[in-house]
């Protein structure tokens, strides 16, 4: 049984800001990935298509994990 005190709004705001920074960085990486992949693919180079897709899905899974923590904050 957990006896942790509930987080104050100020603490939750700090946590949300931290999660926001990481999620934003990962989304920007995904944006760069998709534009670079599209450029290479349309130019006839298909070798990076699947490695880039795996990297992007990895970024999304990290984001999903962080969002799960975000939803837990308001429970």
């Amino acid at each position: 049984m957990s006896d942790r005190r509930p987080l104050s709004r100020q603490e939750r705001t700090v946590i949300v800001s931290g999660i926001l920074c990481i999620v934003l960085t990962l989304v920007l990486m995904q944006l760069w990935l998709i534009s670079a992949t599209m450029n290479a693919w349309l130019g006839g180079d298909e070798s990076i298509v699947w490695p880039a897709a795996l990297a992007s899905v990895g970024c999304f899974l990290l984001n999903a994990g962080l969002l799960w923590h975000l939803f837990q904050l308001d429970r």
Binding site: S8, R9, Q10, R12, T13, V16, S17, I19, L20, V23, L24, L26, V27, Q30, L31, L33, I34, T37, M38, N39, A40, W41, L42, G43, G44, D45, E46, S47, V49, W50, A52, A53, S56, V57, C59, F60, N63, A64, L66, L67, L70, L73, D74
Partner: protein, 183 residues
Amino acid sequence: MARDLDPELHTIPPNRGEMEDQPTWRRDFPIDTAQDAYVARRDFTKFLGLTSLALAVGQVWIGLQSRWRHARGKWPIVAIGELEKLSVGDALAFHYPTDTDPAILLRPETDRLLAYSSQCTHLQCPVLPEIEHNRLHCPCHAGYFDMNSGRPIAGPPRRPLPRISLEVRSGTIYATGFEENQT
């Protein structure tokens, strides 16, 4: 009494002053700035989660398109025209692989033929041959491509023109597919 002690249950004005000191309009429509900042950041983060999902799906879609492109099989073989009717230094417009894909055939030398998709890789304008200058010119935004390789040499295009492979059989020129890995 507990409500008075809990700061989270009180509206905090943007200037952090007392509510009694605020103008009437703010007292009538109070905004709790601390709560507003928390909710706005939380909801923006959730929206970024959706954006992340969309980008990952898009990336996988490119991979599937790439696989389907290979699954469709070989490119069609299409007759373009007679070799003897195309004089040296001349060009011929044709369509490949479908009737809606414009392409251009060039004959810079007697025994040399080149063919490219004639849609500029910037914004799909038709490119014009300038064989005497060894280049292809897109007049829409002053883009230039090297005639021998199809690579962009000036202007906004960043990708090369897709090069079409050719075969000459019994005096007839055929388009047989696209060359890969030009980048």
